[in-house]
């Protein structure tokens, strides 16, 4: 029942194309392929990076650096024991960065109430601090970036290398059929020194084929198409774009657009990265980790 079933990207391998692809492996996507867009709902950490604070969406009035420095000192002496040295919570006290009291505070007006009266029922004593000191604490707390993703931490590439390299090798030459397209004698011989473990694993999954929303990445090897018109004329080239109603093909003869209604041309489309796409529903994480460990060792 698929509307474009006839034109659906063929799973068949085009050997000639793949031979080209196999030499410069995995479309040289050492750095994460750029995602052109991310229309997921209300939050989108950038492509492959830890969530980065997008605090410019929620600007706050700038803090006075001197007050911030004083506030940090006062905080570390009086507050850090319970609320943590970074104010993100500790043994006794909650995370202050996400506290509505702190977030809605202006120059200490809300924080002062809590600090000077305490919250005895929750085990917080009152503190005899001056309003100026509390305003300094407020300046310090407000200077800590919140962002909507929280404070991001860098990814540890070594934490990815937990797989069994020998099992990865078996998978590469066996069940994974990787060796059908990729040779360890080509650039794969040193692929472990060309890409970090995360880039290796990411590209095993995506091959840099598309964005998160499915648009082909400009860095991906192009799909090829053979168009057969009702007249019998055959036109081949690389696929520039296609939808339900038209397609555009580039070739040495130029750029040509065909309408898909009317004489409805017959299409044969081949994607050199199809083997990667076909795996997406079938991967198990163990095979991915094993494969990554194996390729990371190819130095």
């Amino acid at each position: 029942m698929l509307w474009r079933a006839a034109a659906r990207v063929s799973g068949a391998m085009a050997i000639s194309v793949l031979a080209l692809v196999a030499t410069p492996p995995v479309n040289a996507a050492g750095a994460a392929p750029p995602t052109t867009a991310d229309a997921r709902s209300e939050a989108a950490p950038a492509a492959n990076l830890p969530a980065t604070p997008a605090s410019d969406d929620f600007p706050r009035p700038p803090s006075d650096p001197a007050a911030t420095a004083r506030g940090k000192q006062i905080f570390s002496v009086n507050c850090a024991f319970c609320h943590g040295s970074d104010a993100r919570g500790g043994e006794g006290g909650p995370n202050l960065l996400r506290s509505p009291f702190v977030l809605n505070d202006q120059q200490g007006n809300l924080i002062a109430t809590v600090v000077r009266t305490g919250r005895v029922e929750k085990g917080m004593p009152k503190f005899d601090l001056s309003l100026d000191s509390i305003a300094d604490i407020a300046a310090y707390l407000h200077s800590i970036p919140l962002g909507r993703g929280g404070a991001g931490q860098p990814l540890d590439p070594k934490a990815i290398l937990v797989g069994d390299a020998a099992a990865g090798r078996t998978y590469f030459f066996g069940q994974g059929h990787c060796a059908r397209c990729h040779s360890l004698r080509g650039q794969f011989a040193h692929i472990g020194s060309m890409f970090d473990p995360k880039a290796l694993q990411d590209n095993i999954v995506s091959a840099g084929a598309t964005t998160l929303l499915g648009a082909p990445l400009p860095t991906a090897p192009p799909r090829t198409v053979t168009v057969t018109l009702a007249s019998g004329e055959v036109f081949s080239g690389t696929l520039d774009s296609i939808d339900e109603f038209s397609l555009t093909v580039n070739s040495a003869a130029g750029r040509r657009t065909f309408l898909r209604d009317g004489d409805n041309p017959r299409l044969e489309i081949k994607n050199p990265l199809q083997a990667h796409l076909d795996m997406l529903r079938n991967w198990n994480d163990r095979d991915l980790h094993n494969l990554t460990a194996f390729l990371a060792g190819q130095k």
């Binding site: 029942m1 509307w3 079933a5 995602t35 052109t36 991310d38 997921r40 709902s41 209300e42 939050a43 989108a44 950490p45 492509a47 492959n48 990076l49 830890p50 969530a51 410019d56 969406d57 929620f58 600007p59 993100r88 919570g89 909650p94 995370n95 960065l97 996400r98 509505p100 977030l103 809605n104 919140l146 962002g147 909507r148 993703g149 929280g150 990814l155 934490a159 990815i160 290398l161 937990v162 995360k198 694993q201 990411d202 999954v205 995506s206 598309t210 964005t211 998160l212 929303l213 499915g214 648009a215 774009s241 296609i242 939808d243 339900e244 990667h276 997406l280 994480d285 991915l288 980790h289």
Partner: protein, 573 residues
């Protein structure tokens, strides 16, 4: 200046003449409505979903399967945003009046993909009432003549900031319009002039809430929700349409010891920072007086530690009494979500047969890839089915029909392959009582989630993870039989260049047997709602919202937005 003021006046004059004209027109044929409810209007589009049921079904039949091939352009309208819509200067075109409001001294330019400085993109509902369209985009609202596309007035809000993804539309109560702003105000405008009546703060900008839902007006209640990507408590609030005073607040997570759902969190602090935001407009059942609405993901979103338990009432459907704000029932579609499933998708109210007897139902296709049918009077679970093509994150469907997550598919330090960002989202589905089919757009996307948080206290908000290997197999239009949960037919779309196409921009079904959808975002397509066969299309490039339909003077219009353009189609007589 004189021309600017002339237009509204002349329109007012026109409006005075219209009742007489309209009554002289031939009445439009209207399809019998099997699932009559919610006093659905026959020829206008006065609310977010056309009526309050969430169905986005119009009874209009003038444009139908047999003649849709002759659908042709009636008019276009380009919407100009910003503080001065005509740009000023000697040679500037005479534009409509721009009314400026907002709490910021100067508008703040926010960052990100959907920046406040981004080009105008109408992604939400456009209201139609008495021959006037009311359209919105972040920080902007317009009144547009529904017969000609001429802009009548423009309102601009100087924002303090906030996440500017999409303004999902406005609410209408008589001559009063209601709009949420990304910096958390409810603004009421006089629909006739665009002049501001008042604006009220609805959530805390300092807590990083952002408000973009379409306010739903039920009786004397304006229902308002907000989004949040830090760790704050979700809430639905009701405001008085006259004065703008707060009537009640319903938090979607327990806020006090002893509150319902408290035992589904390890601590009150975790619950009060547990998310569950109400950021998509719901549906209203006049018989029970319940507002039925979905809630978003628990927070922190991806990091399972620190919030052991089911985390009520995140990722849930709620039935909320409109008068009191009290929750009458709940059903959690993703207990203890660790994938940002964010199940706020539009609930759709349907009166129909289920398991051999007539029932009052609510249907929801959620971001986790599952379709749910509940009894909307009681919240009783009736059916769970999967419309996704990959469910490896699910260990089992439990006895109450809830997908139970497999913890081994949570984000991990070595990377876990997941369906990144889910299968469907806020762009609204549609239900046709003619076909009995529930239509959705879905996206099959994958990627790796790496757990990067090393602090035993866990992460905040959407933090604690890195992504990688993002890729998509394609995007689909699916027709689901609500009685069985089975996908009856499916259309697969080639991903386009448009960033909005993959997830779809929302759907419309009509009494003419048609289903309107954008494909990859390039084309607006009319499908046969029964078979899924495409019958008509127009390449508009970058379709950005769901099509709608209304009738004026015996003429049925279909409208859709593409960025800053509105296109209207009709049958040329």
């Amino acid at each position: 200046m004189s021309t600017r003021q002339f237009r509204p006046r002349s329109l007012l004059f026109l409006a005075l003449c219209l009742p007489a004209l309209a009554s002289a027109q031939i009445q439009l044929a209207v399809a019998p409505d099997a699932g009559a409810q919610n006093s659905a209007t026959t020829d206008s589009w006065p609310t977010y979903s056309g009526d309050n049921s969430g169905r986005r079904f119009s009874k209009l039949t003038q444009i139908n399967r047999s003649n849709v091939k002759a659908l042709t352009l009636a008019w276009t309208s380009r919407l100009v945003g910003g503080p001065a819509s005509n740009g000023g200067g000697l040679l500037a075109p005479s534009g409509p009046p721009t009314i400026v409001g907002g709490e910021a001294a100067e508008a703040v330019v926010t960052g990100g993909l959907f920046s406040s400085a981004a080009p105008i993109s109408v992604r939400g509902a456009i209201l139609e009432s008495n021959g006037v369209l009311y359209a919105s985009a972040p920080d902007n609202a317009w009144a547009v003549d529904a017969r000609t596309g001429v802009v009548i007035w423009h309102y601009y809000w100087k924002t303090k900031g906030g996440t500017h993804t999409a303004n999902k539309g406005m609410g209408l109560y008589g001559d009063w319009l209601f709009m949420e702003t990304a910096d958390d105000y409810l603004v009421s405008l006089d629909a006739r002039t665009g002049k501001e009546r008042w604006h009220k703060e609805t959530a805390s900008f300092s807590e990083q809430f952002f408000s973009e839902a379409a306010p739903m007006v039920i009786g004397r209640h304006v229902l308002v929700g907000a989004g949040n990507d830090t760790d704050e408590a979700g809430a639905l609030r009701s405001f008085d349409p006259d004065s703008g005073e707060l009537q009640w607040t319903m938090h979607s997570v327990p806020m006090n010891e002893g509150d319902l759902g408290r035992s589904s969190w390890p601590s009150l602090d975790a619950a009060r920072h547990g998310g569950g935001n109400v950021w998509v407009t719901g549906a209203y059942d006049p018989e029970t007086h319940l507002y039925i609405v979905g809630t978003g993901n628990p927070s922190p979103a991806y990091v399972p530690g620190g919030r052991d338990g089911d985390n009520l009432f995140t990722c849930s459907l709620l039935g909320v009494d409109v008068e009191t704000g009290r929750m009458a029932w709940y059903y959690q579609t993703s207990p203890h979500d660790t994938h940002d499933w964010d199940s706020a998708q539009t609930p759709v109210l349907v009166d129909g047969e289920f398991a051999g007897r007539p029932r009052k139902l609510v249907l929801q296709a959620t971001r986790n890839g599952y379709f749910f049918v509940l009894d909307r009077i009681t919240g009783e679970h009736l059916l769970t089915s999967s419309f996704a093509k990959w469910n490896k994150w699910v260990k089992e469907i439990n006895t109450t029909g809830q997908p139970v997550r497999d913890p081994t598919k949570d984000a991990s330090a070595d990377g876990t392959l997941v369906s990144l960002d889910g299968w469907t989202n806020w762009p609204p589905p549609t239900f046709s009582p003619q076909t009995g089919l529930f239509y959705i757009r879905d996206l099959e996307s994958y990627g790796l989630l790496y757990y990067t948080e090393k602090d035993p206290r866990g992460a905040m908000g959407l933090g604690g993870v890195a992504r990688g290997g993002q890729v998509a197999l394609g995007s689909n239009l699916e027709a689901i039989d609500y009685k069985t949960g089975k996908v009856v037919w499916e259309r697969s779309f080639e991903p386009g260049e448009g960033i909005l196409g993959a997830l779809g921009t929302g759907l419309l079904s009509t009494g003419g047997g048609l289903l309107f959808a954008a494909d990859s975002g390039e084309n607006l397509v009319a499908f046969d709602a029964q078979s899924g066969a495409p019958l008509w299309h127009s390449r508009l490039h970058g379709v950005s919202n769901a099509a709608e339909t209304y009738a004026l003077d015996g003429q049925q219009y279909v409208i859709v937005a593409a960025g800053d353009m509105i296109y209207a189609f009709y049958l040329y007589k």
